[in-house]
């Protein structure tokens, strides 16, 4: 397959607007500062999967079958497009201390549990921002979020959410890890993921595995790809002033 051919379409999907020039305007808890970016560069790329795609895994529904479904639920943990693009991958540029403003959002961050499914399955949320956790189901859910720190984990939050509380808002404040695993302590087959971004230079790859990050200060960076089930990969990239760089991450079967 041709990664470049796919990238030509991806370039239309620039996710973040260029920030307006200006001095430092804000600093978040992670130390990131919003500042004018001179000669901003753009990073584009794609994540692919090369090999036999693992079969979907089947998890038995053990509770609340009238809402969650009877029998087994299938989850395609390695979700690959027809032309080999890998979905559900978060791309982040490491080590950017200052740069573009956070993009304007339409609405708030949301995590739904409708029909006993965490949706979206993977999402990028700005660290420190509030997340609206929705329970439209007529059953009790119990969101248990784990901050992943290397091979360790710690509970970030853990609360029951009965139908009488359809929305619970919680700020995402991981201490050290960026990756968060979501479980429902009431439904053992539910699973979801959040990447808590401390800079605006983190995006979720699109349905074809493509991504584009703009407004990057020129320089040499480590770019990290994180797939919840296949793990992390890193590459170095140098972005020239006003230029663009391109990288491809390729995952293979474990």
């Amino acid at each position: 397959m041709s990664a470049r051919r796919t990238l030509s379409g991806v370039l239309c999907l620039i996710l973040f607007a260029f920030p307006a020039p200006g001095r430092v305007t804000a600093q978040n808890a992670g130390g990131y500062q919003v500042a004018a970016v001179e000669n901003a560069a753009t990073l584009v790329g794609r994540v692919t999967f090369d090999g036999q795609v693992p079969r979907a895994r089947r998890f038995m529904i053990t509770k609340d079958v009238e809402v969650c479904g009877l029998g087994y639920r299938e989850r395609q943990e390695v979700d690959v497009s027809d032309d080999g693009g890998l979905r559900n991958v978060v791309i982040s540029i490491q080590g950017v201390r200052s740069g573009k403003a956070w993009p304007e959002r339409e609405g708030r961050y949301e995590l739904s549990q409708e029909d006993c499914v965490f949706a979206p399955h993977v999402q990028v949320v700005r660290a420190g921002d509030e997340l609206d956790i929705l329970n439209p189901d007529p059953v009790l859910h119990n969101v248990h979020a784990f901050e992943l720190i290397g091979s360790a984990q710690r509970t970030l939050f853990n609360f029951g959410q009965p139908p009488e509380e359809p929305v619970i808002t919680h700020a995402l404040r991981p201490r050290r890890g960026r990756e968060i695993r979501l479980e429902c302590d009431a439904h053992d087959f539910m699973l979801g993921w959040i990447f808590a971004a401390d800079t605006p230079y983190a995006v979720l790859a699109d349905e074809a595995g493509g991504f584009a990050i703009d407004g990057v200060p020129p320089g040499t960076y480590t770019v990290r790809a994180w797939h919840p089930y296949l793990g992390t990969k890193e590459q170095e990239v140098t972005l020239a002033p006003g230029g663009s760089g391109e990288i491809v991450f390729t995952y293979v079967p474990e």
Binding site: R58, F59, T62, L70, E77, H144, D185, D188, P228
Partner: protein, 482 residues
Amino acid sequence: MQPIWTLSTATIPILIAFASLAAGFEASPVDHLARAGVAGYPEVQQALDRACTSCHSGDAPARGLRLDSWEHIVAGSEDRTAVIPFHAERSPLLALATRLEGGPHPAELGEAELTETEIESIRAWIDDGARSAEGEVPYSEPGQLLYVANQGVATVAIIDMGTNRVVRIIDLQELGFPPNCMPHHIVVEPDGSHWYLSLIAADVVLKFDRSNQLVARLDIERPGLLALDPESDLLYVARSMVAVNPPSTIGVVRRTDMTMEQVDTFLPRPHAVAIRPGSATVFTASLAVNTVAAIDPLEETVELADLGGDRPHTFIGLAVSPDARWMVGTTELTSQVFVFDLDRLPDMIPVDSIPVNPAPWHPVFTPDGRQVYVGNNWGNSVTVIDMETREVKTVIEGRGIAQPHGSAVSPDGKYAYVSSRNLEMPDGHSKAGHRYAPRYDLGDNATAGTVVVIDTDTQEIVKVIEVPEYGSGLGTAAPRTP
């Protein structure tokens, strides 16, 4: 904490529903199948002698299994049963000869394989009861039986607690129930004469006799845990957790004729249920709210106790000590074992709460009342509680404990039995890991439920018994609750 209200006969009658009798239900024989024209044992032994006994005989037979006589075949290997009468497909002898990944045994070792005719003879012989030349069916007079509901595959495995072997498998599909009928929990008459099984998704409770013939059925919406009063004719039926909004009632069933009345618990989702021996009191607790109910069907009263707390506990199981003094209740979301002093009734004040590994499921007392065993469904472990100190005595982990669910003890109290679901779990999930791989790979991603046998003196796992998929509730005539 005080009960939030008390209901009495004068205020609210609690017997609200009508009788439902399984009239005219035709029982299907299971254990006395008589099929014409099936192969006899001599034919089978001839096939085994040709292909198997060169290795499976003598003082050191392969895998500890001798196949050179009916008695040895029936004795099985050290690990497991070789034949399960009336159920060829679940019998390792046939499964290994036909479905083993890497080639059927013994052809996988380069030895001559059983012919199709020989395999069919073995299949027919097992399905006819694996009888001896004299017509004797193996394990026809077992000792104390342990019944295992296999929620994933519509079967019940029956284990002889004397030998810790699976001696029968009841296939509910052969009785006309769908593959996803979800058998969940079993209770047994004190004399072992009958056993009762809840089928969650089929909305029935079934009554079998000791020879595993279905003798009656009772329709009830989303039945779950059962509790049998050994001192009366009553069986109590609570509601399954698969139901989102089941009736707030529990079923009160007269076992002799399987008629039922329903008693309102005034609780949403009454799930746990237990009897206090020597009294008419039955307890239930809710999945949805932190409330426990004590019900006296004779006095027609319900005492409700609000346990408070800033988050739902989600009560899973209740168990009452053999001396009727103590009751323990397990909670899924807060991972506690609450201890209630029943001598303080009507006050339902927990006198202790013991934190345990995640999601304690069905608890059971040992016959002396000194220990409680409970599997931690999210923790892949079994917690043993010392009831004298009300502290965790030990936590057992090991092969075969994979999402533990049901529990039981042997009549002499020497062994505790804990079933496991052993379902597939997502990688990285807090519950993943410890998954039990069946001893033999029979292809098709075959999995197995388990029942681990734990020595109550040493708290060591002494055996892992494989059962069909998703081991859930356990039932035995031995002292046990729920």
